[in-house]
Symmetry: C2
């Protein structure tokens, strides 16, 4: 995969901003590296793939992305090991997913060769921005958006595909308290919930703010029909450990097919843990919390890897979870990070070497 | 309402583009007037309301609108009568609705005085772009979007509120064939369907493309749970005339509360027509088509005013509708346009004078 026929032009910055960055005090996703990748879709094809200095776009206020939310994105990370080698984690999955998201949003698919060559070239240029040390990483944000001018609700003829790089530390600090959705919804059957479509996220901000006011950081969404079954959180899939069985919702057209989720399932199966991919009713969860069989809840996602949930709220009650000595969350987080940071074997072939110092 | 305390700075174009415009050949929403209104939200307040020459924005590729679809909009029109006087139609409703949409999308509400003064000043400057003659109008697109830099899924701290003006002719040409949704959905209970949120529209493009391939211009959406009840179309509410009763879905958190819809209801009630605001099952519609009691279907919306539907598709069958001599669609369209273009009395007080030559 290191060979490519894509022809990406490169314009380097004259002065790197790297020396100015305080890597100990990063706000997630708000610092960007020296370079970004940009490619334009016009007249039916992707043109002019280019790496350029990170900087503002000049874009019409009538660009369709502002009016119709025709935009999709991905989230992936680069990790540096102690020898200065940089790795991605299952990037093929992100590539396939952004094209799946694009299809649902009527955005033209992006070519594989340009995607991977762009990542290689970008990360080679900006590898100094990937800090070694577990927890440090470079968050990678590929996205596509509609740039055609026009305030009429129809698909754009023009798009931009961009990749930004942002050095980050761990996403969440501490445990997460979640509330279970009883009124608002994230997605509908037949909707775009399975796509990483921009509008799915903005739509969650208001109900998430309401949850925050009550002391919960995240909402665990339920099916929009009856609010009866547990689905996923805002940017994480969710796992429930009842006794020693790990339960997670099946993917559907409402739920994002998370790469961390499928990796956790593989790790659990390898460890001989029972994995039950099925709809879990909220009532079952409450019963399990009440009778003591609920051992753990955790979220899985690229940003936070694994986020242990310390309590969930439902029907104005709060259910606290006890720390487990043999925590699955801790174990999977460790195993995933060991693979990501090249500290262990890579039995599934998830590591993807991309650059080195 | 002509007085305002808002302090809007004005920068005029040096050369108007008005003389270059071919008003007989306009593509809906792709030509813009000389000026636009821009206002920024920062540090908890809206600042620097300004009218400036229409032109591109300089915006970070990491602005949250691109990634999380945190954006809302409105659609309204200015009409010019034969004496050169310019009117809006129920603009107070659009103002209230954009703030309702903003609330659902965690966007700060916009102040009434600045909104109305911006419209007055803009339309006064660009009134030459409003062509008289029934069917001609100036489409007005207020919108708000998240501009804070940051690729983390949380509400923006910074926003832009912009108003664009676009001269247009009638939106649809000819009758509309619609298909009834059986697989895809527009919105969920507890979702953002009742908001004019950007992402609602991009999400419809793919299923609408599929409908187009089968010869239908629009999709009539149904409830996402069972696809059993008729809801609304992509940018129109929908009315069904069965015998002489006019039926339309009740508004809900899935359906946009259309201003044309509520105006049609008022006109129908004034005319002594039975209006039944209730859920209409698809099966009822098919029965009515089969037994001849289905007389008309039409859409209502600012862009097209009233769009008569000539056929609907369901379960791979196409049901054609006969033209009615006493068409409600024709009557309401005429009455609405007479009010909009100041050609009739204005019994409901819907006309809002805003500028004159
Ligand atoms: C809605 C949603 N669910 C789950 C996830 C987790 O997916 P992944 O593990 O691929 O990062 C994400 C994204 O990160 C997401 O946006
Ligand atoms: C989804 C949707 N339904 C209905 C309408 C009609 O609303 P109005 O009559 O206020 O234009 C619109 C917008 O124009 C819309 O976007």
């Amino acid at each position: 995969m290191n060979t490519s026929t894509a022809n990406i032009s490169v314009t380097k910055v004259t002065n790197s901003r790297l020396a100015e960055v305080d890597f100990d005090n990063l706000t997630f996703g708000s610092t960007f590296t020296d370079h970004m990748f940009v490619c334009d879709f016009k007249d039916g094809a992707w043109h002019n793939p280019a790496i350029v200095p990170y900087g503002p776009l000049t874009i019409s206020p009538a660009a369709k992305v502002f009016h119709y939310g025709q935009a999709v994105f991905e989230g992936m990370k680069a990790y540096k090991d102690d020898n200065g080698e940089v790795f991605l984690f299952r990037p093929e999955q992100n590539f396939e997913r952004i094209n799946k998201s694009s299809k649902r949003m009527a955005i033209p698919e992006f070519p594989r060769d340009i995607f991977f060559e762009a990542l290689h070239k970008l990360l080679d240029l900006d590898k100094g921005w990937v800090q070694s040390g577990v927890g440090n990483s470079l968050y990678i944000r590929p996205f596509a958006m509609a740039t055609q001018v026009g305030v009429s609700a129809s698909p754009s003829d023009e798009y931009k595909f961009i990749i930004l790089l942002s050095p980050v530390k761990a996403y969440y600090t501490g445990d997460v308290r979640v509330t279970i959705a009883q009124k608002y919804s994230r997605s509908a059957d037949g909707g775009v919930g399975a796509a990483k479509a921009a509008g799915n996220y903005g739509a969650q901000f208001y109900p998430t703010n309401l949850a925050r006011e009550k002391g919960f950081q995240q909402v665990v969404w339920t099916d929009s029909n009856e609010h009866k079954y547990l689905e996923e959180a805002g940017t994480m899939n969710v796992f429930f450990r009842i006794n020693d069985t790990l339960i997670t919702a099946p993917t559907s057209d409402r739920i994002l097919d998370g790469i961390t989720r499928k990796s956790v399932i593989s790790l659990a199966e390898r460890a001989g843990i029972d994995v039950d991919v099925r709809r879990l009713a909220v009532s079952e969860l409450v019963d399990a919390a009440n009778n003591g069989s609920l051992k753990e809840i955790f979220g899985s996602g690229t940003a936070a890897v694994i986020s242990p949930v310390s309590a969930f709220g439902y029907n104005d009650k709060v259910y606290d979870l006890q720390k487990q000595d043999d925590s699955y969350a801790t174990k999977f987080k460790q195993q995933l990070m060991d693979i990501q940071y090249n500290r262990s074997e890579d039995p599934f072939g998830w590591r993807y070497p991309i650059a080195n110092d």
